[in-house]
């Protein structure tokens, strides 16, 4: 972090302390290295609705939403009350609570193809478990995934490099998004040994614009999986409940065998879920699944409240409208200054980039300037909208973006 900056003095102090006792200072996706060191705050203090404040008191309109979970906005009163009420009864006890059954029933009723549900805490819990279920069900070894897709932090899929063995990915094979031929090549190469295909509903790699599925791509994958007896796993961790309450496959017109949810499921309370077809039920029962806090009822109560609010208020439609307003405005603002902008991904999970900026420098400079003005724009990771974002938020953001475009233009970016 820039030592001359007073704007992040408290963040800087905390980071100096952290660097002594925490590897990386801040590790993982929230670490400074993947963001904008010196231009992003490092530590948050509080959050409310669509805004949050860093430890130095700087206020931001939040377009990361905790990297996805805050679909209704921070501190949503109904969700918080449901969780608090449940916590007054039990936080972490020896057995699951009735809410676990209620939530499983509710999710199964939402997601049409599913017959059962299980719960974990993080996305990785579910994607890794789903891969094991696919292997158990098919008695096969291979798993196909899209190159550059993120499915979590376990050795078979982590984007990190440390501590891995070649053997960790001996049976994991990559094909290219929107490239049926590269998928078919793997299908041919490993025919009879492919347990599962795991994919996100649209491609949202870091450092690149998101890519929507080309016409026919999903049906090609789905048809091949049905024909070959391969379990199709939808990793809906990031997009889940933002495109369709019934799972993002409904938005794109296909049907998986397993679906993994996390992020938006409980509006920030730690919970993930996997749902599957009845044919996978026996295999699912054989794959061990547990964790110290996995039966904790409050996040499940939060999820139940969150899901019901989203359904009641048609959050999906609201996010789409807000996202279209934001991204349309940004593209127009860019055009005014002669920039060709790419608004990629669905409006509810958008990403903005410059058309001719392979080195990402202009993107980084632009996002730094907008963030400095009070709306956090990540230059490398897709953004998230929440139901708490208001037209006033969008208008204020567009004003900040306009100023930022003007500034970077003046700087010659």
């Amino acid at each position: 972090m820039n030592s001359t900056s007073n704007r992040f003095r408290r963040s800087q102090e905390l980071f100096e302390r952290a660097a002594k006792v925490i590897p990386g200072g801040i590790y993982g996706h929230a670490g400074p290295a993947i963001g904008l060191p010196g231009a992003f705050p490092y530590y948050a203090d509080r959050a409310q609705g669509s805004h949050y404040w860093d430890v130095d008191g700087n206020e931001y309109i939040d377009y990361l939403c905790g990297y996805g979970p805050m679909i209704l906005g921070h501190q949503h009163p109904e969700v918080e009350e449901a969780a608090a009420r449940q916590q007054r009864d039990a936080l972490c006890v020896n057995h699951p609570g009735p809410i676990m059954v209620d939530l499983a029933e509710y999710l199964v009723s939402l997601v049409e193809f599913s017959a059962w549900a299980v719960f974990g805490k993080n996305g990785s819990d579910m994607t890794t478990w789903a891969v094991q279920v696919a292997r158990e069900h098919t008695k096969r070894r291979k798993v196909l995934k899209v190159a550059g897709a993120y499915h979590g932090m376990d050795p078979w899929c982590t984007p990190g490099h440390g501590g891995l063995l070649d053997e960790d990915r001996a049976h994991i094979h990559d094909f290219n998004w929107n490239d049926p031929e590269s998928f078919d090549r793997l299908l041919k190469q490993f025919r009879g040994d492919i347990a599962g295909v795991i994919m996100t509903p649209f491609h949202h790699p870091v450092f690149q614009p998101s890519q929507m599925p080309a016409p026919g791509f999903w049906s090609h994958i789905e048809t091949a999986c049905r024909r070959e007896g391969i379990v199709l796993i939808l990793d809906d961790i990031r997009a889940g409940f933002r495109l369709d309450m019934r799972g993002s496959h409904k938005h794109f017109g296909f049907e998986p065998d397993l679906i993994c949810f996390c992020k938006a499921l409980a509006n920030g309370h730690p919970l993930s879920a996997a749902l599957g077809r009845k044919e996978l039920r026996v295999a699912a029962s054989k794959v061990f699944l547990t964790g110290s806090y996995w039966n904790s009822p409050p996040p499940m109560a939060a999820a139940m409240a969150c899901l019901q609010i989203m359904k009641r208020e048609d959050t999906v439609a609201a996010l789409r409208r807000t996202g279209e307003m934001l991204m349309g405005g940004l593209v127009e603002a860019g055009k005014k200054y002669g920039y060709s902008m790419i608004a990629s991904g669905p409006p509810a999970v958008p990403f903005l980039s410059f058309a001719d900026d392979a080195s990402l420098r202009r993107q980084q400079r632009f996002c730094a300037e907008v963030t400095r003005r009070g709306a956090i724009f990540h230059p490398h990771h897709n953004w998230f909208l929440s139901a708490a974002h208001t037209p006033q938020d969008i208008a204020a953001t567009l004003r900040m973006a306009d100023e930022a475009f003007a500034m970077i233009k003046e700087e010659g970016f």
């Binding site: 972090m1 820039n2 030592s3 980071f15 100096e16 952290a18 660097a19 590897p23 990386g24 200072g25 801040i26 590790y27 670490g31 400074p32 290295a33 993947i34 060191p37 010196g38 490092y42 190159a147 550059g148 490099h161 891995l164 063995l165 070649d166 870091v206 450092f207 392979a358 080195s359 990402l360 420098r361 980084q364 490398h380």
Partner: protein, 264 residues
């Protein structure tokens, strides 16, 4: 990074194209190196039978290295194969090259041997070298040169490195140390033959990795610093195409398989 074993052909190219060129910077930076060189004017070719060669030119206390063999060198040192050259560079006393030309230039060979020993001490961070600030500075500079120039040899021949490189965006990466003249080393992942060099790069880098000072560079080269925390503290700046920098860092880790302990 992969645990696949080292490829002897890659290692020999690392010695010829990444380690040997460090003599240039060593002679510029280190008075001891210049003293060894004195007023020598000569050229030495290191040649692997049926394989690559490099020429070292000594002139007015400076060293220049180039790929390939030059015409009419003062000395030609012949190695029977990659393993022979690798054993020589790794200090095996039995691995003496065959002086097929100029073997009578005892004084020249003796000074070249001393220069090579000095380079070895600096790159390997021998105790007397690291005992002084000047020695640590040299160690960091030269380690950075080996690491970045070495990317080219790895890209051209090491399968594990090639696999990582295939997943990286194309572009030119430039590494430098703030306040250090002539310590910008670059690698072009966009060019057909994976060009690498030092000095100002041929075009604007797609990513710049800058170490705040020699101490940070020294620690980073020796894997003694938490680089993620260093980025957060502004001690290492990565501007531009971050995934290229991240991926090249992984490829550099392959150097450990080849050049332990002189790799970063």
């Amino acid at each position: 990074m992969s645990q696949a074993p080292a490829n002897p052909a890659v290692l020999s190219r690392l010695y010829l194209n990444a380690v040997l060129p460090c003599l240039t910077d060593l002679s510029r930076q280190d008075p001891a190196a210049r003293e060894i060189l004195g007023d020598l004017e000569a050229s030495i070719v290191l040649q692997i039978v049926g394989g690559p060669a490099a020429t070292v030119r000594l002139r007015q206390g400076q060293v220049a290295c180039e790929n390939g063999s030059s015409r009419a060198p003062s000395v030609i040192l012949l190695f029977f194969n990659d393993r022979h050259l690798n054993a020589f560079f790794s200090g095996r006393t039995w691995a003496v090259p065959l002086p097929v030309w100029g073997g009578w230039r005892i004084e020249l060979l003796s000074r070249f041997s001393k220069l090579a020993q000095l380079l070895d001490a600096v790159l390997n961070g021998k105790v007397p070298v690291l005992a002084t600030a000047a020695g640590r500075r040299l160690h960091a500079r030269l380690s950075l040169i080996v690491a970045v120039l070495g990317l080219r040899s790895l890209a051209q021949g090491d399968q594990a490195a090639q696999q990582t490189l295939r997943s990286l965006p194309r572009g030119l990466a430039a590494f430098s140390i703030e306040g250090e003249q002539g310590a910008t080393i670059w690698f072009d992942h966009g060019s057909l033959d994976y060009a690498a060099g030092w000095g100002e790069p041929p075009r604007r880098p797609d990513v710049r990795i800058t170490f705040a000072d020699m101490n940070v560079a020294y620690s980073a080269m020796r894997d003694e610093i938490d680089t993620l925390a260093a980025v957060g503290r502004g001690q290492i700046k990565v501007e531009g195409l971050v995934p290229l920098a991240d991926g090249l860092n992984v490829v550099m880790e392959r150097l450990r398989v080849y050049l332990q302990p002189i790799a970063p």
